[in-house]
């Protein structure tokens, strides 16, 4: 069976790439610590030595649109072009070409559908910064094939938090049962409290530091039940109008299961809190 060697759940901050490229005399004061934390986080993936990456993110109205909006979608293609004109324009993100792992895509689609998730698929998917930010941060050499999984955290009606957790648990079962000798890592990105296009945006911290602190505790402790008891589609409006992206963290908690993260770090930035978690399903000693 395949070996699930690492599970990474992190925020995706589209300004990291540009910030990390700035010479020290032009970089903002928080840049050095941010780069240092990301480098440490990158090592948590590197040491797991994966062969293939399953990547969970959310399209930001790039390819997926309101005339035909899937709730959960898996890419199945030999390649994925990446990043869009408005991401180049706003964030300075370069375009990328990622390799796909079609066999694992096909397996997850077939088995996922058979287990009760009517997954959409795409044979030509241009992924966006929800997938490429973690490439820039934890796998900048972009040398591994990926399976992109998109969730709808953006265009209501959304699936409920329980559904995200359940999909995560299902993905975990499927990867554990995949007849392959490859080493698989799953990397998912979401948000803590976040406001975009509303009155609380771009403040000195995330819009709800209390929520962020609680969310970090839930994730770091693998407290799926505590999280589910406190998070609903309605409740996520209060911490910030884009906080439904937290449900991608909940999906990742479903993949990791009821266990503490082996690595947890965060960084309070303007606008948002950055957070970095890694689990090693076989234990740290297995690495």
């Amino acid at each position: 069976m395949a070996n699930l060697v690492a599970i990474l759940a992190t925020t995706h901050h589209p300004f990291y790439y540009k910030t990390s490229q700035l010479p020290p005399d032009q970089a903002p004061p928080f840049a050095a610590e941010w780069v240092r934390k990301v480098a440490a986080y990158r090592e948590t993936l590197t040491r797991a030595n994966p062969d293939v990456l399953v990547m969970v993110g959310s399209d930001h109205f790039h390819q997926l649109w309101l005339d035909n909006m899937p709730q959960f979608l898996i890419g199945k293609a030999p390649f994925y072009d990446a990043n869009w004109y408005n991401e180049e324009r706003e964030f300075g993100l370069p375009r990328l070409l990622l390799k796909g792992h079609e066999e694992l895509s096909a397996y997850l689609l077939r088995e996922g559908i058979d287990r009760g998730f009517d997954l959409a698929f795409s044979n030509e998917l241009r992924v966006d910064h929800s997938i490429t930010c973690p490439i820039f941060t934890v796998r900048p050499q972009n040398d591994l094939p990926i399976v992109p999984i998109y969730t709808n955290i953006f265009a209501p009606p959304l699936p409920r938090p329980e559904r995200f957790v359940k999909l995560g648990q299902t993905i975990r079962e499927l990867i554990d049962a995949w007849p392959s000798d490859l080493r698989v890592a799953v990397i998912g990105t979401g948000h803590l409290s976040l406001e975009l296009g509303g009155p609380r945006q771009f403040g000195p911290h995330g819009p709800d530091p209390e929520f962020d602190a609680q969310a970090v505790e839930w994730i770091a402790n693998g407290d799926i039940d505590g999280c589910l008891a406190n998070v609903t589609l309605d409740s996520l409006h209060a911490p910030g109008n884009a906080t439904h992206g937290f449900m991608d963290f909940m999906l990742m908690m479903g993949i990791a299961g009821y266990r503490k993260a082996d690595y947890a770090d965060n960084l309070d930035l303007f606008h948002t809190m950055e957070a970095y978690f890694t689990w090693y399903p076989n234990g740290v000693d297995s690495l």
Binding site: D67, E90, A155, G197, G198, P199, Q201, H237, A238
Partner: protein, 120 residues
């Protein structure tokens, strides 16, 4: 209410560099042209397969024509789409980093939860 159409306008303008400039420079002309020529286009279909029923309501047309992001927020336009396009059009008019985004937020400061519904 045609939130979907508001979003479709913001979405299709934002992804086209020429339309971003056109909307910045001539909002009334761009909105009129778009509603007449583009509003009914099904995005992944040929022109002959267009829809026949999509039109703005007066308040929506007015909000777009006035570059009025506060009104758009009130109408339930998707805040991410509005913000992204506004950054593309107006960040260049500010000298300090994030000044545009903070001004944008300040103009919405009178709003409290719950925000207008954005479901389409």
């Amino acid at each position: 209410m045609s939130r979907y159409l508001l979003n479709k306008f913001l979405f299709t303008i934002d992804r086209d560099p020429e339309l971003v400039e056109k909307y910045r420079d001539d909002p009334a002309g761009t909105v009129a042209w778009w509603e007449a020529e583009q509003a009914n286009r099904v995005l992944n279909c040929t022109a002959g397969e267009a829809s026949t029923w999509l039109a703005f309501e007066d308040a929506e047309r007015q909000a777009l024509t006035g570059h009025d992001h506060v009104a758009l927020f009130g109408l339930g336009a998707h805040p991410f789409l509005t913000l992204t396009l506004w950054i593309a059009m107006f960040e260049r008019d500010h000298t300090e980093p994030l000044a545009m985004q903070l001004d944008y937020a300040a103009k919405l400061a009178h709003l409290t939860l719950p925000y207008p519904d954005i479901a389409t």
